[in-house]
């Protein structure tokens, strides 16, 4: 696994974590406009990063949410628990 893949994955983890934490906060504070703006901003950043990653390394998510190049790249190793971060 090349170091670019690992650094892209770590960036995705970082931005997705920001989204998860804001998501849980918004669940109990749905009228906090600033938090919602932040959530929408990072959600957009996250989809850009994921698209870039998936072009090189295959889908991060299947069941129709992302497309794959030929051959079906979902089955490619390594899987998340096999990666040395």
């Amino acid at each position: 696994m090349d170091s670019n893949q690992i650094s892209m994955l770590k960036k995705i983890m970082e931005i997705e974590f920001t989204c998860i934490d804001l998501n849980l906060y918004l669940d109990t504070h749905p009228e906090d406009q600033k938090a919602l703006q932040d959530y929408n901003y990072y959600s957009n950043q996250l989809s850009i990063l994921k698209q870039q990653y998936e072009q090189f390394y295959g889908p991060l998510i299947v069941f129709g949410h992302s497309q794959s190049q030929y051959p079906w790249k979902w089955v490619d190793d390594p899987w998340p628990w096999e990666i040395e971060y």
Partner: protein, 190 residues
């Protein structure tokens, strides 16, 4: 429905194999206050929550707990990777190896299998949210014990992340409890 993302929530690392630590960490995989219990507890309790906010909190925290389950599994997998059988036996995993080799299974650190008796769903939002707050505090304590049990800085780093998340979840459940109480009180007519 649920979908899987082919990534961990946090880059779980171990600096070196450590059979004893793997044995202890299994507590958070298939133990009473572990991540499987947490995910299944919240997932099944959400059906009787009275407000959209409470349903969202339980759905989203249940989902995050599944990501934590995968992180714990990754740590255990990496801690046992390539360890010879003689060392597994010497370090107290002979019984585990007999049944599961180096595979992951839902048991606690003493080998007790996971059971639905670890969780509750009373069909009552107030009772369930109290249970959830207690569960998060118990999980936080377990993570503190686990952090004390290892000197591996990589494992400690990941456990600190998981410990912090228990604190955030406790906070969100506490807010949900207050909001659900307010909602129920507003529904009373005299």
């Amino acid at each position: 429905m649920w979908v899987y993302e082919k990534k961990l929530q946090y880059p779980a690392k171990v600096c070196k194999p450590d059979v004893k630590m793997a044995k202890y960490l299994i507590a958070q995989y298939g133990g009473p206050d572990g991540e499987l219990a947490a995910a299944l507890r919240y997932q099944t309790q959400r059906f009787v929550m009275p407000t959209g906010k409470a349903k969202a909190v339980l759905t989203d925290i249940a989902t995050e707990e599944l990501a934590h389950l995968e992180i714990i599994a990754t740590l255990v997998f990496k801690l046992l990777k390539g360890v010879p059988v003689e060392i597994l036996k010497r370090e107290g995993l002979g019984e585990y190896y007999t049944e599961h080799d180096r595979g992951l299974f839902y048991a606690d650190t003493t080998g007790m299998l996971w059971t639905a008796a670890y969780i509750q769903a009373k069909g009552d939002a107030i009772a369930d949210l109290h249970e959830d707050m207690a569960a998060e505090e118990k999980a936080r304590t377990t993570y503190e014990h686990l952090i004390n049990l290892t000197d591996d800085p990589c494992v400690k780093d990941t456990l600190r992340f998981l410990r912090e998340r228990e604190i955030v979840h406790f906070q969100r459940f506490g807010e949900t409890l207050v909001q659900v109480r307010e909602y129920m009180e507003s529904k009373k007519f005299f």
